[in-house]
């Protein structure tokens, strides 16, 4: 479990916003032109700091949505009672400055030498670091088989929809819509549980590597079911956010 020691000081820096792109009605991807970026791994996150005119400061963490080598991007879901996310989704625009530091974390990451097969399990905006992993896999020409099971409330809530509709070779994308399905929907229409994982997950005998990211209830259910189906706990990496965890 030992990681690459990261002893470099993480300094705050100001980065201009180069683009803000809507993903869904409540989700935006913000791309930053970070002047002094040391590079990141797929799955890491950054801290964002906002300061108001009275000097009041609010900080939050966001997963990096882009692959190593791409400009730093974060994808933010607006939480209506939040303090930071409504600013990032509704107010911030290209040309504004955003203060950040990172990259942070080093456990919930993937690189081609980590192998697979990869099982990526996303609940809602938990897709963000998994998208970085998929893009990294594609950009490095990795042939590791990958399967993404992505749970959203409705089709309109699917983040990176167009990109996920054109998966790279060796990648399967499986959606489940838990709240409402469009007419003619042939995909899954239920919450992810042991039964659904039994249909979708790689068998444990293949020694898959699983990454689970989403709300706490999703991550608890999914990771528990994987362990019960024979996945070694150390092959199941999790990242959770509570109701206010990413606000």
């Amino acid at each position: 479990m030992a990681g690459t020691a990261l002893r470099r000081r993480l300094s705050w820096q100001v980065a201009p916003v180069s683009a803000v792109v809507p993903e869904t009605p409540s989700v935006r991807t913000i791309t930053l032109d970070v002047p002094d970026w040391p590079g990141h791994q797929a799955g890491q996150h950054v801290d964002i700091r906002l300061t108001d005119e009275d000097g009041y400061v609010a900080e939050r963490s966001y997963s990096i949505a882009s692959a190593p080598g791409e400009p730093v991007a974060i994808t933010v879901e607006r939480l209506d009672d939040g303090e930071v996310s409504p600013y990032l989704t509704d107010e911030l625009r290209a040309g504004d400055d955003l203060e950040l530091r990172g990259p942070i974390g080093g456990y919930f990451v993937w690189a081609p030498p980590d192998g697979g097969p990869l099982l990526l399990l996303a609940g809602g905006s938990g897709i963000v670091p998994l998208r970085a992993i998929l893009r990294h896999r594609q950009r490095t020409g990795s042939a590791v088989p990958a399967r993404l099971l992505y749970s959203s409330r409705t089709l309109a809530d699917v983040i990176y929809h167009a990109e996920l509709d054109r998966p790279a070779d060796g990648v399967e994308v499986i959606h489940t819509l838990t709240r409402q399905q469009p007419p003619g929907w042939t995909g899954y229409a239920r919450r992810v549980d042991a039964g659904l994982l039994g249909e979708v997950a790689w068998p444990a005998a293949m020694m898959p590597l699983a990454y689970v990211c989403g709300p706490t209830s999703f991550v608890e259910t999914v990771s528990q079911a994987l362990v019960q189906s024979g996945y070694p706990p150390e092959r199941v990496k999790t990242e959770r956010f509570g109701a206010t965890g990413g606000s």
Binding site: T51, Y87, G242, S247
Partner: protein
Amino acid sequence: MSPVSRGFHRRRQEPAENAGRVPPGQYVTHDFPVLSAGPTPHTRLDNWTFSIAGGGQQTKTWTWAEFRALPSQDVTVDIHCVTKWSKLDTAWQGVSVDTLLDLAGHDGPFAMAHCDGGYTTNLPVADLTGGRAWVAYGYDGRPLEPEHGGPARLLVPHLYFWKSAKWVRSLELRDTNDPGFWENYGYHMYGDPWREQRYAGD
């Protein structure tokens, strides 16, 4: 001094009685978020033990029944997670680490907490003693839920909460301050929320 974020306005205002209780960069939450690097372990109480090792002494081990028979304390404390949330007035029940170290007769400058699932974290023993740290098995009057670290977790509320290791099974006393799990990934070796020691170099 940070630059002003154009168009950003404060939305959260802490009530006056909370003044001085929320460290810099933190916000108060009323639910109890869960953060763990892997699946929640479910260790059966029959198989659970707690040990104190190292320090040149024989390892001292308690079974669950023995541990629950130790004198316990009820404490109400504020907790601060490095992911920015703080939770005020959390009520815990557990055994003071002072009690455990006294019974084990162990001493040493540093401790590594070892947990089910392989998690570790390092702390100075001085921060585990003096009535500032517990091995907690009760939360809000009930047994501690597995997702929050049950059957028992370390509770060191004056440091960021990753130091309050979930599913703790032993404290190993050491002469050296070696990095634990998150500390190896660049998190701060000490983790004082009031000095915002989130990451190495802070």
